[in-house]
Amino acid sequence: MRCEDARTILVEVEGGERSAALREHVAVCPACRAYANDLEGLRIGFRALAAQSVPEPSWGFAARLVRRLDVEEWSRGADFLEQVGRRVVYAAGLLTLLLLLALVLPASGPLRGPTASELYWAQPDTATLANYSILPDETLESRELNSPAPNSSGAKGKP
């Protein structure tokens, strides 16, 4: 019997069920004997570990668990109501917004692009602004002095 085969059987088979061939090999092979001893040590260790005391549930464990389940169920119910409530609030908000939009915008259409005339009247302003930037500095200065801003008192900035 090869050592490898002997060890495979040793690991596989529970103690006490060893074949004659295996017993013979273990008897003459010190390495496999040590292997078998270690394996036996593992088994003893496991048995001792299994015999070790195990923590017990503290008093009232089951009752506390049932209470926890009750609380979870209750809070799940509360969550559900909260979700439903929140949805109602969202829906009401959305409805109000839609109503307001319907009142504010003309009946012909909810949104309109600028008309041709609106674009036309917007043009002179743009042109004036463009002219400003190409005017010589002194012209700009004199213009500013001659026409003060409407909200200033007129005295501000002058000697």
């Binding site: 003893i44 260790g45 299994a50 549930p57 668990l65 169920e73």
Partner: protein, 199 residues
């Protein structure tokens, strides 16, 4: 430990059916009946006394949430063991993903190191003492073993379950259980032997 395949108790069936309808009091009776077994399984799998009660509670809450899926094909104990094993397995994997933490207090950390235990084992000693050393050594090796090995070894060597019962809990064929058990034992033995060579 009670047998896993107990005769169907009509009272237990009534509690299970009640719990499946959402009756939490009925589930409370099941908890009273199985709590010790769940504590034992959780402790043996996780090996952390201070975590056992919390983990057992989480297992039982999970079981209550999933109890509608219980179809009476296996015993309730086996089904509950499956919930416990899966929960502890996830816990061990999560713990393994974090930096290593030892459950021993700093004072006895050196004494509890596996190499120190191997030293003690070589020294001549009384049988009960040797047994205690072997117990601590196997405990440490178990803590270092991969979660899969740990689960299968605990179920076989400590819970004393048959290969068929383990297969039912882990949802594996008995042949697969045997192969995994063989590999887990072999790996553990090799770890022990390599510890001795490390010294």
């Amino acid at each position: 430990m009670e047998p896993y395949r107990a005769e169907r108790d009509p009272q237990e069936v009534a509690w299970i059916r009640g719990a499946q309808r959402g009756d939490r009091e009925a589930f409370g009776h099941l908890v009273e009946r199985y709590q010790k077994r769940v504590f034992s399984q959780v402790f043996r799998l996780v090996r952390r006394r201070e975590e056992v009660e919390d983990l057992a509670q989480e297992v039982l809450v999970k079981a209550f949430r999933a109890i509608r899926s219980y179809d009476f094909r296996s015993s309730f104990g086996t089904w509950l063991a499956r919930v416990a094993v899966n929960h502890c397995y996830d816990f061990l994997r999560r713990e393994r993903a974090q930096p290593a933490t030892f459950s021993v207090s700093p004072g006895d950390r050196d004494a509890a190191q596996p190499t120190a235990l191997v030293d003690k084992l070589e020294a001549p000693g009384q049988d009960p003492e040797r047994q205690a050393v072997l117990r601590d050594l196997v405990g440490k090796l178990l803590e270092r073993a991969p979660a899969d090995d740990r689960v299968i070894l605990v179920l076989k060597e400590m819970e004393g379950l048959s290969v068929e019962e383990i297969g039912e809990i882990l949802e594996l064929r008995p042949g697969t259980v045997k192969v995994r058990l063989f590999r887990a034992r072999k790996r553990m033995l090799e770890n022990w032997r390599s510890l001795r060579q490390e010294r």
